[in-house]
């Protein structure tokens, strides 16, 4: 989230699209209800289903799953055509005026540079014209036909209300009403917030769904302001933290990146991470990259990371592919190219797509290690549970080691919520049996591995045996010790260059924030963006002062929000070029003539003059991007692509199936079904009574929604002879499930490109372990393909067939 949960109360219009906040985040949704009740705010819900969010909305518009980009580009088209643009914001704070190179084009669904064989683009033309001084060329008058604004205008012109209706199935009158309400927030004193979640990410063009809304929000001037923003409602309690800390194939903590093979040494690595400003006087904060990187290396390898060895640069692995994400991992397992897998609190047998492939993949492993408080399906993938897990244990040679871990109630530490708040918690009970904290388990594994390497030697032992492990009890690092490491500390005294009797930094002290980190090895910091969370002032994540001056919703003294306790990202953009709030009633920070100050920690150097330094300091442009250059694999603008399995042919690019650059592994393309064989558009989702696959272990939640079901419209039920409460079989090219049927008015058939499209809704909470009735997950049906940029599987749009069946024999 750019903003926070409590900030939502400041909005005038909530758009829930690509998510279902009432259902998946009820206590956060409270702030939507508050905005409605006390500010007169309105709520729009755009969803293939009339959801629990829709049940309290002011306007609901149906949409076919997988067509959000067409819808959003249609809204942008409407705003441009009807002058619903926050012009001062767009001209000053976006790259609308930037001129794009000759050679960039978009035609028939493809941008310039497409290579069909590689399923990839040569993105060299997706960039700015540069001036002789080395800055990006702009045209403040917006007259140049190649400036971003004019290219965007032309790009979205296709998405007329008629085209939106044709692609999305959204009735034109409903769509226009949505446009009208959204367009009204282009006024300087009106704000809209976007709340989205996996309804946007779980598509083969998920990242571009989000970009489309981000662009719309920029055009309306709704980023960086109270009650505005792009608010990703993260799924799990600490998935924000795990991402921030870089627990992904290609990441280092704080969104630094792992080296790739062509970056043989630190200098080469840094050469592509210079981030020289593209306009004069801009901040381009990533120029500090090396300070963060070196400080991270020092936290990893301490004394072993020296200037002479490039701060242990070679201790880091180098990637040969963009990432070894979970889909690639299962693909490699499936090919027999992996031997071991460790699942820590993760149940991929139900979470990853194409369950049949997953079972086959896990069966190829030599060993599987699980760490979990609960008895998961993954740990029991070899265990026969009849039709719910039809396997023959004698044929599965995988050794499985199941390690019991504590749960939240028994452990201590911080979790990072969607609004980037790091909140500390304390244990209230003892773990059952011999269950142990994950920190203990990881330390025990590490110490044993280290001892083996010290004793026996082995492949490149240095990074293991020299890992910095400074804990009082090596076998049981304490949460506060780890939190201090994450915050960062001073490794060597740094004398004051002006007065050698003084020190800027004192060895052994916690650093106050990332602002003091250095690239010479004198500081260590586990995750620069978290720096400040546990400094000399103490554990700031444990702060519990809930005062909120003037009730802005900021709560600056509650816990700690990264970065540097800032609550609203890009908050400099809440003020105009003179530093005055666009809307005085929604003041956030303002320029007082010498500095920035207000209700939040300024997202800019406090002394940076408002008409000089632009608000988007993480971009070398200093401004936000409507045109994203070559930073995304599938285009500098979003374009409508159908899901890989779609009930209709792409109306704007009939020759293209799915996202033209999404990665598809060999064999998986053949496992995509078509609409002749599988006529119904399926989607998967959560229900409010459950949380993923955990709460089926929880008795009371099992009572609330006991049994796997699928949802269909009354029309489809009639057509197929399906009875509500009766049994159905649902199958795709990849698998088949049996479920109860819920026949509902909340799903209606849509008309897309002249064709009736029926939707089948498949909730995801059942499996073969736990207290709830045994059932199936949608992943028995879903295709093995992910988003072109970040590989989130396409769970939200796929094809199935459905038929009524007699009650199965138990």
């Amino acid at each position: 989230m750019t903003n926070s949960w409590t900030d939502i109360k400041n909005t005038d219009l909530v758009v829930i699209m690509g998510g279902n906040a009432a259902e998946a985040h009820p206590c956060g949704f409270k702030w939507v209800v508050e905005a409605k009740a006390h500010r007169g705010a309105k709520l729009i819900v755009v969803d293939p289903r009339f959801t629990r969010s829709a049940s309290v909305s002011d306007l609901y518009a149906p949409i076919r799953q997988g067509t959000d980009i067409a819808f959003l580009l249609g809204v942008i088209n409407h705003c441009i055509a009807n002058d619903k643009v926050q012009w001062d914001y767009v001209k000053a704070y976006t790259n609308a005026t930037y001129i794009v190179k000759e050679g960039f084009s978009y035609k028939d669904g493809l941008f310039a540079g497409y290579d069909e064989a590689k399923r990839d683009y040569n993105r060299s033309s997706w960039d700015y014209d540069m001036t002789a001084e080395g800055f990006a060329a702009t045209d403040p008058s917006l007259q140049n036909p190649r400036c971003v604004w004019n290219l965007l205008k032309a790009h979205v012109a296709t998405y007329t209300p008629e085209m939106v209706e044709r692609i999305c199935g959204t009735p034109k009158d409903k769509f226009l009403k949505v446009c009208q309400w959204i367009g009204e927030t282009s006024a300087k004193n009106k704000v809209m917030t976007s709340m989205y979640a996996l309804g946007w990410t779980q598509h083969s063009k998920g990242s571009q769904n989000i970009r489309a809304m981000a662009m719309l929000q920029l055009i309306l001037g709704n980023i960086g302001v109270r009650g505005g923003g792009m608010n990703a409602l993260r799924g799990h309690s600490n998935i924000q933290g795990l991402t921030d800390l870089g627990l992904m194939s290609n990441l280092l903590p704080g969104y630094l990146t792992l080296p790739v093979e062509r970056e043989a040494d630190l200098n080469t690595y840094m050469s592509t991470r210079g981030f020289k400003p593209l306009q004069p006087n801009q901040m381009s904060y990533w120029q500090n990259y090396k300070k963060f990187f070196v400080s991270f290396q020092k936290s990893m390898w301490g004394a072993a990371a020296t200037k002479d060895n490039d701060f242990a640069y070679d201790y880091l692995p180098k990637l040969d592919v963009p990432s070894y994400d979970v889909l690639r991992a299962f693909e490699l397992m499936h090919q027999g190219k992996m031997n071991g897998y460790v699942c820590q609190g993760f149940n991929p047998l139900l979470s990853a797509p194409n369950r049949k492939k997953l079972t086959a993949a896990l069966s190829n492993l030599k060993f599987l290690i699980t760490m979990d408080p609960l008895d998961t399906e993954t740990a029991r993938f070899w265990d026969n549970h009849g039709k719910y897990n039809e396997v023959d244990p004698t044929k599965i040679q995988t050794e499985v080691i199941q390690l019991p871990s504590t749960c939240f109630a028994e452990d201590e530490g911080s979790l990072t919520n969607s609004g980037r708040w790091l909140q500390w918690h304390w244990p209230g009970g003892d773990a059952p049996g011999e269950a142990k904290a994950d920190t203990w388990i990881m330390a025990q594994v590490y110490l044993r591995l280290k001892a083996l390497y010290e004793k026996e030697g082995g492949a490149f032992a240095d990074p293991i045996v020299k890992l910095h492990w400074p804990y009082k009890e090596a076998g049981d690092p304490k949460p506060d010790e780890l939190a201090r490491e994450i915050n960062g500390y001073v490794v060597e005294d740094v004398p004051d260059p002006n007065d050698s009797t003084k020190k800027i930094l004192e060895k052994g002290k916690q650093v106050v924030s990332f602002a003091v980190l250095r690239d010479d090895g004198s500081t260590a910091c586990g995750c620069w963006i978290y720096s400040g969370c546990f400094n000399e002032a103490g554990n700031n994540m444990a702060r519990r002062d809930n005062t909120d001056p003037d009730e802005t919703g900021a709560f600056l003294k509650w816990a700690f929000s990264w970065p540097v306790n800032r609550r609203i990202l890009y908050n400099r953009a809440s003020a105009d070029l003179e530093g005055k709030a666009w809307d005085p009633t929604r003041k956030l920070i303002e320029w007082d003539g010498t500095k920035w100050a207000g209700y939040d920690v300024p997202d800019i150097l406090p002394t940076a003059k408002p008409d000089v330094v632009m608000p988007f300091i993480m971009n070398p442009e200093g401004v936000s991007r409507l045109f994203t250059r070559g930073l995304m694999r599938d285009g500098p603008f979003p374009a409508h692509y159908e899901p890989f399995e779609s009930p209709v042919v792409n109306p704007v690019a009939p020759k293209i199936r799915g996202n033209p650059v999404a990665r598809v592994f060999k064999g998986d393309m053949e496992q995509f079904g078509d609409s002749k064989e599988f006529p119904y558009a399926a989607t998967s989702y959560r229900l409010t009574e459950h949380f993923h696959f955990w709460t089926k272990h929880v008795w009371v939640n099992a009572v609330m929604q006991p049994e796997f079901f699928v949802e269909v419209s009354e029309q489809l039920a009639k057509e197929k002879g399906i009875r509500s409460g009766g049994w159905v079989r649902v199958w795709s090219k990849r698998g088949s499930v049996q479920a109860k049927a819920v026949v509902t008015k909340r799903i209606v058939p849509l008309t897309c490109d002249g064709k009736t499209v029926h939707i089948v809704g498949i909730p995801l909470h059942w499996g073969f372990m736990g207290a709830a009735r045994k059932g199936f997950g949608p992943n028995s049906l879903t295709p093995f393909v992910g988003d072109a940029n970040i590989e989130t599987p396409e769970y939200k749009a796929f094809l199935v067939d459905i038929e009524p069946i007699p009650e199965p024999v138990a």
Binding site: L245, L247, K318, R328, G340, I401, P404, W421, M442
Partner: protein, 199 residues
């Protein structure tokens, strides 16, 4: 704003996660003795309160764990009830149906208690000691790493990566667990590394 923040004293210091329940202020004792027949005794009397965070979604609601037994005094503590934290700015004491049922998660029958090993081809898990399990884990990891570690690629560039064993990290562990995990996984050169963010 019709949500009234509770009048409870705000707790600002780190150590204040654990506070006592003071029902005495309500004169509960009298009610219990005189009218036990009519009104159910207040079940949280004498319990210990601990501040925690709901482990499910990313709203991160504040919760209070009510337990019998005081861990700070070295006793075993059993959690008997869980409710929303009224001081929390986001949830203000409220909880969704998952959060409101957290006690049943803590006490779920399928909570794991002991390390288990399932041997190749076996149709059951067998209980082992932690030492047995951890020694086995370390041995399996080392064997695979030593056998398949790639120090240099075809062009002779040092790449130091290990691709034959992978690690999937959790989504509800603490940042501190995540960092400890990161150190162990990355220092081994593992690149098949992902978390739940993607799904």
């Amino acid at each position: 704003m019709n949500i009234e923040l509770s009048r409870r004293r705000f707790l600002q210091s780190a150590g204040a996660g654990v506070v006592g329940t003071s029902l005495g202020a309500f004169g509960f004792g009298d009610v219990e003795s005189a009218y036990a027949e009519m009104i159910r005794p207040f079940k949280l009397a004498g319990t210990k309160e601990t501040r925690n965070t709901c482990p499910y979604c990313s709203v991160a609601c504040g919760v209070i764990l009510y337990s019998q037994g005081d861990r700070s005094k070295g006793d075993k503590a059993k959690i008997v009830h869980i409710e929303g934290d009224p001081d929390h700015p986001t949830n203000r004491g409220t909880l969704c149906p998952k959060g409101a049922a957290l006690l049943d998660f803590v006490q779920a029958e399928t909570r794991l208690q002991y390390p288990m090993i399932r041997k190749p081809g076996s149709s059951k898990f067998e209980r082992v000691s932690w030492d047995q399990a951890l020694d086995r884990v370390a041995k399996l990891l080392k064997e695979d790493r030593d056998k398949n570690f790639i120090a240099k690629n075809g062009d002779g560039v040092t790449v130091n990566r290990w691709t034959t064993t992978g690690f999937l990290a959790a989504s509800a562990t603490t940042n501190e667990t995540a960092f400890a995990t990161y150190k162990v996984v990355r220092s081994a050169g593992m690149v098949v590394f992902d978390n739940q963010a993607r799904v």
